[in-house]
C-alpha cells in the first residue's frame, strides 16, 4: 500500500525553483530518506507533503488523501518534527507530550497512557519533569520526535532529526528511529550520508530541487558504480552538475 505519493511536485519562490517536478511514492511502513546538501529542496518537499506549504504545481497524497483538498484528513494522520526543535519551552517534557495528545482530542486516560509510552520509548523518564528550555539539544530532539509520535500518526516526517547533535546523541536517536521501522511510515531528510545509509530502506538523492536518483543503497551503488553511499552520492551529484556553493 502506498502511504505517501508525490506527482510532479513543484515549488517556486519568485525566480527560484526550490523543488522541480519531483515524483515519488513511499510504501506503508517504509523508512524513506531524502538526502541532499543544504538547499537541495528536502525541507520544502517535506513541507509540501505535510500540508505546511502549498505546491506551485503537482499534487501530493498521504494515505490517498490530497494534501491540497483534504488537508484536515492528512493532518490527522501525520506527525512532524521540524528542523528546529519545536517544543513549548516553559513546559516540562511530560506537559509537552500531554499538550499534543490533548490537541489531537485524546481523553485523559489515553493521554496518560500515550505519554507514558513515549517517555519509555525514548528513555526520557529522568527528564520527564524537566522544563524543555533547560534540556540539552539531544533531549530536545527526542522530545520533538516523541511529540510528533504521540498522536499515533500513520506517517512521520523527520526534518534533519540529528542536525547539530553530538555523535553519542545522534547514535541514541538513531536507535529510537530504528525501533520505529516497519511500524510506521517515516520520511526523513538528512545531509548525513551515514544516517541515510544506517536508517533508510530507500534513499532519494536530491540535487538542485530534483530527484537525481532513487533506490536502495545497493541500487544507488550499482547506478553510480561506486561503493558506499558517500561515493555513490558524489558520483551522482557530479553527473547531475550538483555542487555545494
Amino acid at each position: 500500500m502506498i502511504a505517501v505519493e508525490a506527482k510532479n511536485l513543484t515549488k517556486k519562490y519568485k525566480t527560484k525553483t526550490a523543488v522541480d517536478s519531483i515524483s515519488l511514492s513511499v510504501e506503508a511502513g517504509e523508512l524513506f530518506a531524502l538526502l541532499g546538501v543544504n538547499g537541495a529542496g528536502k525541507t520544502t518537499t517535506i513541507r509540501m507533503l505535510s500540508c505546511l506549504s502549498v505546491p506551485t504545481a503537482g499534487e501530493a497524497f498521504v494515505n490517498g488523501h490530497s494534501c491540497l483538498s483534504e488537508s484536515e484528513h492528512v493532518k490527522a494522520e501525520i506527525g512532524i518534527s521540524p528542523q528546529d526543535t519545536a517544543v513549548a519551552e516553559n513546559l516540562t517534557v511530560r506537559e509537552n507530550l500531554e499538550f499534543i495528545a490533548k490537541v489531537y482530542g485524546f481523553d485523559r486516560a489515553k493521554t496518560i497512557s500515550r505519554t507514558a509510552e513515549m517517555i519509555e520509548l525514548f528513555n526520557m523518564s529522568e527528564v520527564e519533569n524537566t522544563r524543555a528550555k533547560t534540556l540539552s539539544g539531544g533531549w530536545k530532539r527526542k522530545l520533538s520526535i516523541a511529540m510528533a509520535l504521540i498522536s499515533e500518526p500513520k506517517v512521520l516526517f523527520l526534518d534533519e532529526p540529528t542536525l547539530g547533535l553530538d555523535v553519542l546523541a545522534r547514535r541514541e536517536l538513531w536507535k529510537a528511529i530504528e525501533a520505529l521501522k516497519g511500524k510506521i511510515t517515516i520520511i526523513l531528510t538528512t545531509h548525513y550520508m551515514e544516517e541515510a545509509e544506517q536508517l533508510s530502506d530507500r534513499i532519494a538523492i536530491m540535487i538542485g530541487g530534483k530527484i537525481a536518483a532513487l533506490g536502495t543503497l545497493s541500487e544507488l551503488e550499482q547506478l553510480s558504480g561506486q561503493t558506499g553511499l558517500e561515493g555513490a552520492f558524489v558520483a551522482i551529484a557530479e553527473r547531475n552538475g550538483g555542487s555545494h556553493a
Binding site: L52, I78, G79, D84, A86, A88, L91, F99, K102, M147
Partner: protein
C-alpha cells in the same frame, strides 16, 4: 473545543512560568499604585486635585495594567511565530480560530486576576488613607473592564501577528504610552478642554478609564458608565475581529 482548551492551558503555563509576567503584569501596576498614592499624599488639599486619590487612581491603574497584558500577548504570539513551534502546530488539526481563542482566553483570565489584585491592593490602601472605596463598585468595575481587556488583548494579538518579537514590544510601548497619557490615567483629560480633550475622546482609552472609575463610584449614569462601556465594547469587537482575521490571513500566507 479540546484543541482550544489544550492550547489555552499551554499558554497559561508559559505565561505563569515567565518571571517577567509577574514583574510587568502585577509588579509594575502595584508599584505605580503605591507611588501615585505617595504623590497624592504630597499634594496639598487646596489644590483640589483628586486624580491620584485611591478611589480615582485604582480604576486608572487597572486600565494601565491591561496595557501590559497587551504587551505580553504580543510577546507570546510573536515568539511562537518566530520559532518553529507554530510550524509544528500548523501541521496539527488546529484551525486559526483555535489559535486565536487559545491566545485570547488565557490573557483575559490573567487580566481579570490582575484587576482583582489591583483592587485588593487599592482597598488596603483605602483603609490606610481613610478614603472610602465601594466593594460592590469594584466588583462591577472588574466586569466593566472585560471589554477593554478584550481590546488590549486584541491589540496584542494583532501586533504579535504582524511583527516579530523585536518590533512588537516597541509598538506596544507606543500604545501603552498613548493609553496611559490619553486615557486620562495620569491627569483629568476632560478638565483640560481644547484639542487635547478632543483627541482623548477620539481614542478608546479614556472610555476604559471612565467606565472603571464610574463603576467604582457606583455612578451608573448613561454618560459616565454606559456610554463608555458601549464605546469600549464596540472597539473591542472591532479589534478582536480584525486581529483574528489578520492571524488567519498570516497563517494562510505562512502555509502558502
Amino acid at each position: 473545543m479540546h484543541k482550544i482548551t489544550a492550547f489555552t492551558s499551554r499558554n497559561i503555563k508559559e505565561i505563569l512560568r515567565d518571571p517577567l509576567s509577574y514583574i510587568f503584569c502585577l509588579g509594575f501596576p502595584l508599584v505605580m499604585l503605591i507611588v501615585m498614592t505617595l504623590v497624592n499624599a504630597s499634594i496639598p488639599e487646596q489644590a483640589g486635585m483628586t486624580i491620584f486619590r485611591i478611589d480615582r487612581l485604582s480604576g486608572g491603574i487597572a486600565v494601565f495594567g491591561q496595557t501590559f497584558i497587551m504587551l505580553f500577548t504580543a510577546l507570546s504570539v510573536s515568539k511562537d511565530r518566530s520559532g518553529a513551534f507554530l510550524v509544528r502546530m500548523y501541521a496539527t488539526p488546529m484551525t486559526s480560530s483555535d489559535f486565536t481563542a487559545g491566545y485570547i482566553l488565557p490573557m483575559l483570565a490573567i487580566s481579570v486576576v490582575q484587576c482583582v489584585v489591583t483592587y485588593v491592593a487599592s482597598f488596603i490602601i483605602s483603609l490606610i488613607t481613610g478614603v472610602e472605596l465601594n466593594l460592590l463598585g469594584m466588583l462591577v468595575s472588574v466586569i466593566a473592564l472585560i471589554p477593554s481587556a478584550v481590546m488590549f488583548v486584541g491589540f496584542g494579538l494583532l501586533f504579535g501577528t504582524l511583527f516579530n518579537d523585536k518590533a512588537a514590544p516597541g509598538l506596544c510601548s507606543i500604545i501603552i504610552s498613548l493609553g496611559s497619557f490619553l486615557g486620562g490615567i495620569w491627569f483629568d483629560a476632560e478638565a483640560t478642554g481644547g484639542v487635547l480633550e478632543k483627541l482623548c475622546k477620539c481614542l478608546p482609552f479614556i472610555y476604559c478609564t471612565k467606565a472603571a472609575r464610574a463603576a467604582i463610584a457606583m455612578d451608573f449614569t448613561f454618560d459616565n458608565f454606559w456610554l463608555p462601556v458601549i464605546v469600549v465594547s464596540a472597539c473591542a469587537a472591532v479589534v478582536a475581529a480584525v486581529s483574528s482575521v489578520v492571524f488567519r490571513v498570516k497563517m494562510k500566507a505562512d502555509l502558502a
